[in-house]
Amino acid sequence: MSNPNALLHRRDVVNELLRDRADLLVIAGLGAPNWDVSAAGDHPNNFPLWGAMGAASMIGLGLALAQPKRKVLVITGDGEMLMNIGSLATIAVEAPKNLTIAVLDNERFGETGMQKTPTASGVDLAAIATACGIRTSRIVRTMAEVTELRDLAHEGRGTVFAQIKINPEALVFVMPPADGVILTTRFRQSVLGDEALYN
């Protein structure tokens, strides 16, 4: 029996977000979100970060603007999102239709020993995103809502922000390649074709 009040499990959430991913482009924030995305299957259309904390949402913006026909999904942690929370203002103003930001909110800095983040004290990231002007912005607590979010990401009808409340569990690391040149080159080759190798 599943308890409807139980917190979601992060790997279930990410597996569902990446189900039938088609040509979705995925940016993963450093730490556990990177391992979750990699656990769902290493893929050339993933750009998993191993550092540059705070970069995920803005890499998503630059990519979404450069590739308006493709759908971009950023999957990151609450700590990573908070490190560049101002980017929600920047992104709201640019309003790319093809960008979805999914924050896996365990209310912890998981990677560094499970210290509490501001969301543990009630800081409402979805409300911040709404106040910035991202109209489709929500807190997600059920798998049905995760499925809706997955569909929204594929529809590309406006910038989407979701703060997904998840269990603060520490799981086994599943790592993608760590070499940034490999990650960059295979992503560009996959998205832009072999020409990417020549310029």
Partner: protein, 188 residues
């Protein structure tokens, strides 16, 4: 009337041409995304890009956002430029890990403060720290102090960045920009 207009024209300092020159250079380099936190020294260039339907000008809340955004642009096959004041370089330091370790191009055009003729003591620490902190992170730095050399310096930096996948910063010195003195302005 004509006399008055003439003497006004003589009295007004000639507008610098380098912002228009680097606009052309950046267009020729294929720049599509312009990320910036404004500085007075960049205002003319920013206006040119804003008037250009082919370029997207994105106003950042902090300069490090621009480093990440232009990494995303590169992943998606677009070229960009980051326009910032020297103080904003300090906001970028850890984010520079991204283009450095991923061998991505990054073109930064930095207008200097705390450099030559500065009046504001608070600009000195980061102004003097701009070059060493960029270099400590592995960014190639080209400084220009002559208005006539700004365009060719930016052109060389763009070629270097996009052909060799390196982060490159052009520092435009206060000798080019002209040092303001707010104390004088306050007395007027």
């Amino acid at each position: 009337m004509a006399e008055a207009a003439k003497s006004r024209a003589e009295a007004a300092p000639a507008l610098p041409t380098w912002p228009d020159e680097i606009y052309r250079v950046l267009k020729d380099a294929g720049i599509r995304q312009v990320a910036m936190v404004p500085d007075a020294g960049h205002s003319r260039l920013i206006r040119s890009f804003e008037a250009d339907p082919e370029t997207r000008v994105v106003t950042l809340t902090t300069e490090e956002e621009g480093v990440a955004m232009l990494a995303g642009a590169w992943l998606g096959g677009e070229r960009g430029v980051l326009l910032l004041q020297s103080s904003g370089v300090g906001n970028c330091i850890n984010m520079l890990s991204l283009p450095v370790i991923c061998h991505m191009p990054l073109l930064m055009i930095v207008t200097m403060r705390g450099d030559w003729g500065e009046f504001n003591p608070w600009q000195i620490p980061m102004g003097q720290g701009t070059r060493p902190s960029l270099e400590a992170m592995g960014v190639i730095v080209n400084k220009v102090d002559e208005p006539d050399l700004v365009a060719s310096t930016v052109q060389g930096a763009a070629n270097l960045a996009f052909n060799t996948w390196k982060p490159v910063a052009v520092l435009v010195g206060q000798r080019v920009l002209g040092a303001k003195n707010f104390k004088e302005l306050a007395r007027k």
